[in-house]
Symmetry: C2
C-alpha cells in the first residue's frame, strides 16, 4: 500500500472521512457569550443538577455524544470506536462516558488539543479500513479544572490577565466513510515543543510555539500558505498566545493576518471578564463542532485549517520546577 | 477499501506489522524476581539517581524508547509516531519523553492496558499506510503510583493481600511495515466493563470481567478457542483477578487451563511479598517486551494472545463513591 504521507509530518487521507454529525453542549457562561446561538444545548447551571462538577462534566460529554448519535440517526452499536479525552486525572470523564456508551474505547490525552488527536486518529482508523464510523468527543469544566490544576473556585482566587477561563462544555462528532458533511482531508501531527516557559497562569504563551511549529511544518509539507485557507482556527491560545503566534509565524515568513481566529477568543466576549479567553478540551471541541461547522454548512468556509493546542503539564511537574511541554495538531477540513 | 473487520469487535491487519525491536528496563525489586534475566536493564535503586521518583519514571521510559531505537538501528527521525502512556496525572511521563524524542506524539491512556491500546493503534497506523515505523511505550513506578493513587511509601501503610504492587519499569517497541520479528496480526478492542466493584485495593478482581468480556468477544469473532493459542497472557490481573477470569470464562464455555499466564504473577515470586502480584502500565510492557518476546524468538511460542487490562478510575472518583470502570484489549501476536 502506498504510504499516504506528504513531506515530513503530514498525512493525506485516500478517502477522507466525513463529519456526518456533531453536537455541542456548554455551561451558562458560554451561553452568554458571542457564540450562544451556535450550541445545541446551554445548561442553566454549572452543576447541571448534579452533586459534583465532575459528575456534571461526565454528563455534558455523555449528552454531546448521545446527541451526535441521535443526529446521525445511529444506535451506539453502529459505531465501532469511541475516541475520547478530557483534562481530569486519568481522563475519568471520558472513561465514565465510555462505560455508558458501550462502544469499544480508545482513551486519549493531549490536554486542550485532545479533539485534534481524536479527529486525526479517527480519520486514520476509517481511511485505513478498520471502521466505518467513529465517535470522537472531548469535554472540560471550569470548576473541575480550577480545583484540579489551580484552586477551587470557592476560594475566589483573583486571576491574572493572562489566565484563561476553562470552558464548561463538550463537543462530539461522528466520522464516517460514507455520508454527507465536511471531510477531514489532511492531518499534521505535532511534536512536543517547550520554550522553557513555566507560568501555568499563561498557557497561551506556552502553547504558541507548538502551534507555530506545527503550522510551519504543515505549510512546508503541503506547499500551502495561510492564503490557501478560508480560516485558520487555533484553540486555545487566547489573547496572549495568539499575539505570539502571529509574531512567530511572521518570523518564519508567513502572515496570518485576518485569516486567523482562536477558539478561546471567540467563545467569550471581553465584557465577560474571562481573562485572556477560553481554554480547555471542551473549548475548541464546542467551537469547532458548533459555530465553525455551521459556518461551513452555510458555505462561508470551504477549506479550513484547525489547530488544537495543548499544554501537557500537571500541577506536580510545575511544583517540581519543570517547564511546560506543549503540542499542536493541524487538520484540514474541507466542505463535503 | 475492504473493511478489515471480523465479527463485532475484531480487526485483522492486511499486512501485519512486525515488532522489529523492543527494550525493557526495571527497578531493583523486579530485578530480583523470576524474570530478572529477561530485562535489558535493571536499575540499582528506585530513584535511579534522580531527585524524585517522577523524574526516575521519565528516565526509565526514555531509556526504554532510546534503547529500542538503538536496537533497531534507527534515528528518532526515522519513526513517524510515538504512542505513549503511563499512570501519572495528565500522562506527564510520556509527554516529557515525547519532548526528548522529538517524534510526533499521540498520548494515550488506558491505565495498565495502555500498551495494548498503543500496539493496536500503532498497527492500524502502519497497516493503514500512514507510517512505516511507530514507537510504542509505557511505564510505571511503584513510588509515583503509590503516592498518587494511595499513600506515599514513606508512610509505610500496611497492604492487604489483594493489593497489587505497581511495577517500576518501562517497555518500548518499534512496529514497522517491513523487517524481522513477531507480527501483530489481529486486535480486539474492548468496551468498558464495570461490575460495580469499588475496592481500589483489589483491582485484579475489578478488571477480570473486562478481560473475560474481551476474550469471549475475541473467541466468538475469530471462531477460535484457548487451544488455538500457545499462550494467553493477561496483564495485570494478578492472583485474585486470574482466579476470577478462569471462573468467568468457564461459565462462558471456555477452559483457559495451563494456557493462561498473567504478567502480574510472572514478574514477582511469592517470596517477594508483592501482594497479589504486579501491576502498572510498565508491568505487561516489560514482561511482554522482555520475557515473552524472547520466548517467541526462541521458538517456544508461535501464536499468542495478549490481553492488557486497565482499571480506569481515579482517586477522586473513588472518593465520590463511583465504582471502577475497567477495560481490556486483546492482540494476536504471531511469529514473524
Amino acid at each position: 500500500m502506498a504510504v499516504k504521507r506528504i513531506g515530513l509530518q503530514t498525512i493525506a487521507f485516500g478517502a477522507p472521512p466525513h463529519i456526518i454529525a456533531a453536537s455541542t453542549i456548554v455551561g451558562p457562561r458560554e451561553g452568554e457569550g458571542p457564540l450562544a446561538e451556535s450550541f445545541d444545548t446551554v445548561t442553566k447551571t454549572d452543576l447541571y443538577g448534579e452533586k459534583t462538577p465532575e459528575k456534571a462534566e461526565y454528563r455534558l460529554l455523555e449528552e454531546a455524544c448521545q446527541s451526535a448519535l441521535t443526529k446521525a440517526k445511529l444506535p451506539a452499536e453502529a459505531v465501532q470506536y469511541y475516541l475520547g479525552g478530557d483534562l481530569l486525572n486519568q481522563i475519568v470523564t471520558s472513561s465514565f462516558v465510555a462505560r455508558q456508551l458501550q462502544i469499544p474505547y480508545l482513551g486519549l490525552y493531549a490536554a486542550c488539543a485532545t479533539i485534534g488527536e481524536g479527529l486525526a486518529l479517527g480519520a486514520m482508523i476509517i481511511d485505513g479500513g478498520f471502521a466505518e464510523k467513529v465517535l470522537v468527543g472531548a469535554a472540560s469544566h471550569y470548576h473541575t479544572a480550577e480545583r484540579q490544576f489551580r484552586y477551587p473556585v470557592e476560594l475566589n482566587i483573583q486571576h491574572r490577565g493572562t489566565n484563561q477561563t476553562t470552558v464548561t462544555g463538550a463537543g462530539a462528532a461522528i466520522l464516517a466513510n460514507t455520508g454527507q458533511g465536511p471531510r477531514v482531508t489532511q492531518a499534521t501531527l505535532g511534536k512536543v515543543v517547550d520554550y522553557g516557559l513555566k507560568d501555568a497562569n499563561d498557557l497561551g504563551s506556552a502553547m504558541a510555539p507548538a502551534a507555530a511549529d506545527t503550522l510551519v511544518r504543515h505549510f512546508q509539507d503541503t506547499g500551502t500558505t495561510p492564503g490557501d485557507y478560508d480560516l485558520i482556527l487555533t484553540g486555545d491560545l487566547a489573547r496572549m498566545g495568539s499575539k505570539m503566534l502571529h509574531k512567530l509565524l511572521q518570523d518564519a515568513g508567513y502572515v496570518l493576518g485576518g485569516k486567523h481566529q482562536d477558539a478561546g477568543q471567540l467563545i467569550f466576549s471581553p465584557q465577560q471578564k474571562a481573562g485572556a479567553g477560553g481554554s480547555g478540551a471542551g473549548c475548541i471541541a464546542s467551537v469547532l463542532f458548533g459555530h465553525i461547522l455551521k459556518e461551513m454548512y452555510q458555505g462561508r468556509y470551504h477549506k479550513i485549517l484547525v489547530v488544537p493546542t495543548g499544554a501537557l503539564f500537571s500541577p506536580l511537574t510545575c511544583q517540581q520546577g519543570e517547564s511546560i511541554p506543549c503540542i499542536a495538531h493541524a487538520l484540514v477540513i474541507e466542505e463535503g
